[in-house]
């Protein structure tokens, strides 16, 4: 309904040209650059036409948050400040998004958990905030190392949840993520996750779009709910919530509202497929053995496949890119020929294996493992051994013992 003139082709105050997002991501020249994941987050935000970034320090996202502070000093984002805690940050993000701003924040581990109440609120209020989650351990005893347990808690918030494997994924998906989450039929927050340190603190070659090209700004008039003002809050969310009335229609309205959030997650499927070129990547799907993984477990799985091929064992791979929307049909199709499905994960509970077991027929095929957690690395050899053990093959590697 917005009656605004397209800004594409015009320049912002930093001299960046607002560029058609599809052309920016697919046709603009790319420059190979050697950056850490945190630096890549900064470079993506430089091109994202963000209005507001709110920060609070917690490892391993602190570096990215600090680097974006530099962007603010350089004039690339409208406002930047530190919240009082993670809960405060997420509440402040909501306020900024209610006011019609494109909002970005970063979080990790216990901070994500502390802010958790806000995430279903964001989804319910249809706020297309983008939050980077650089996963780390959340449970006592304290760990700051990569561990993807907090993703399990995010899966039922109504947010979109994507899991990046590499810094390149991160760069592209931050920009594409705004395009998906701001679609009027979606308009949901996005938790863009990565495995902390493995992605944020290692350097990699990342192909970047030109720094003088950026996304068009957010248009809040495409929101499926009215922009907030003090006279017309988004329905009865603040001034007169449904719960204040105890009658059938109040409950029916609240129930329908919740259903609508999950309907919007479903609607994001089409847009996510369009931008991410599918919700999964799959290779060698004709084989008996498939590895299904997300995040950096995909990289380890890929290396395990190479090791297995050296020994004459052929194995396929599914990289799960989006956890919400969940690629159920894609995973069923990609694993239809598999007799064994292995799910390596960087967490203790095996939430991805549970999702896959609930998705595929003959779920006994799904081997939940190997698991590592607490920040341990996952050498490809343990994936190989897990597969060989299940197949009754002789293990080829003996892991060296460490410590006293």
């Amino acid at each position: 309904m917005a009656d605004t003139k397209s800004l594409i082709g015009t320049q912002n105050k930093k001299g960046q040209t607002f560029t058609d997002p599809w052309k920016l991501m697919h046709e603009a020249p790319r420059t190979p650059s050697f950056f850490t994941g945190s630096e890549v987050i900064k470079e993506a935000i430089r091109r994202a036409s963000c209005d507001v970034m709110i920060a609070y320090p917690i490892t391993p996202q602190s570096e990215a948050a600090a680097l974006i502070g530099e962007l603010f000093a350089e004039g690339y984002i409208g406002d930047y400040f530190r919240g009082e805690s993670e809960f405060a940050v997420m509440s402040q993000c909501a306020g900024a998004a209610f006011g019609g701003a494109r909002v970005f924040t970063t979080t990790a581990g216990p901070g994500t958990m502390r802010a958790m109440e806000n995430f279903p609120m964001w989804a319910g209020a249809r706020l297309p905030i983008q939050m980077i989650v650089t996963c780390r351990g959340i449970n006592s005893p304290l760990s700051i190392q990569p561990d993807t347990l907090e993703i399990a808690y995010l899966l039922n918030t109504g947010m979109l949840v994507w899991h990046a494997e590499t810094a390149q994924d991160f760069f592209d998906w931050i920009l594409m993520g705004y395009m998906v989450s701001e679609e009027p039929d979606v308009h949901l927050p996005l938790a863009l996750c990565c495995d902390g340190f493995f992605v944020t603190h290692t350097k990699d070659v990342v192909n970047l779009t030109p720094p003088d090209m950026c996304l068009p700004p957010y248009d809040p008039y495409r929101s499926p709910v009215p922009c907030m003002d003090m006279e017309c809050p988004p329905v009865r969310m603040m001034r007169d919530p449904f719960v204040m009335k105890s009658n059938y229609i109040s409950y029916a309205t609240h129930a329908s509202w919740q259903q609508e959030i999950w309907a919007a997650v479903e609607r994001s499927r089409k847009h996510s497929i369009h931008w991410l070129n599918g919700l999964i990547d799959a290779e060698n799907t004709d084989t008996d053995i498939m590895i299904v993984a997300s995040g950096t477990a995909v990289s380890q799985g890929r290396e395990a496949i190479r090791l297995l091929e050296d020994e004459g064992v052929r194995c396929g791979l599914v990289k799960v890119k989006t956890l919400r929307p969940w690629p159920d049909e894609e995973i069923r199709e990609a694993t239809k020929n598999a007799k064994h499905i292995f799910v390596p994960e960087f967490n203790v509970t095996g939430w991805l294996a549970k999702e896959i077991r609930a998705t595929v027929p003959n779920h006994q095929r799904v081997h939940a493992g190997p698991h590592v957690c607490g920040g341990m690395t996952m050498p490809p050899e343990i994936i190989v051994n897990e597969i060989k053990t299940a197949l009754g093959l002789k293990k080829s590697f003996v892991m060296a013992g460490r410590g006293s």
Binding site: M1, E183, P184, D185, V235, A255, S256, Q259, A264
Partner: protein, 211 residues
């Protein structure tokens, strides 16, 4: 493709959102009828037919066209008035076309008057009180429209049409997308074109007050 179809209700105590049942929104140039993607022109014909079959065909304009907040909204409002006038000209003496506003979504105290206006939280009251058996949403914010359309499908047998300015609505029985002045006028043309060729629903058929 899903077997699920978006049909007039009453469907369920708490019907599922159609999107969760595998109904997809149309691409530009398309529309959906009962959840099946069709060319837009076919949906135009069907929408006009449903209006002319109804005893109480009703248009529910929302704030995005009721408030002249920009030039486009004002032009759409004029087009909707034209559609309503066309409906009045094209129906028989036993049919009662209505134009019932949804001016804002704020709570109404002490309560909504369903004879006068529709509220997204109480759309079924307006449908029941006015015995509406076919209605069209236009200019309603998408999330509010989805909410209302689903409650209507759950508790009434009203046939719902959504003239959406964005991506469309799965929870309507028929939905257009990218609504423009031209599309509203084309729908009015279809109503005029089908005048006299469509039979009004007989007693005993589904109507908005059945629940």
């Amino acid at each position: 493709m899903t077997e699920y179809r978006v049909m007039p209700g009453p469907e369920h105590f708490l019907p599922p959102a159609a999107a969760s049942m595998g109904i997809y929104l149309p691409n530009p140039g398309e529309a959906h009828v009962n959840g099946v993607i069709v060319p837009e022109e076919k949906a135009m014909e069907e929408a006009a037919r449903q209006f002319l079959m109804a005893k109480v065909p009703t248009i529910f304009p929302g704030p995005l066209v009721l408030w002249a907040w920009n030039e486009k909204a004002a032009k759409k409002a004029t087009a909707i008035r034209h559609l309503y006038n066309t409906l009045k000209e094209c129906v028989g003496p036993d049919q009662i076309p209505m134009l019932i506003p949804m001016p804002d979504y704020r709570p109404k105290y002490p309560k909504i008057n369903p004879e006068m206006e529709i509220n997204p939280n109480h759309p079924n009251l307006t449908i029941w009180h006015n015995k509406i058996d076919c209605c069209m949403f236009v200019g309603v914010h998408c999330h509010q429209a989805n909410l209302s359309l689903k409650i209507i499908r759950g508790g009434t047998s009203c046939y719902t049409i959504a003239m959406c300015a964005q991506a469309g609505h799965e929870d309507a029985m028929l939905s257009f997308r990218d609504a423009s002045v031209d599309k509203i006028m084309r729908l009015a043309d279809w109503v005029k074109k089908l005048k006299g060729t469509v039979q009004v629903r007989t007693r005993g058929s589904r109507n908005g007050s059945s629940n």
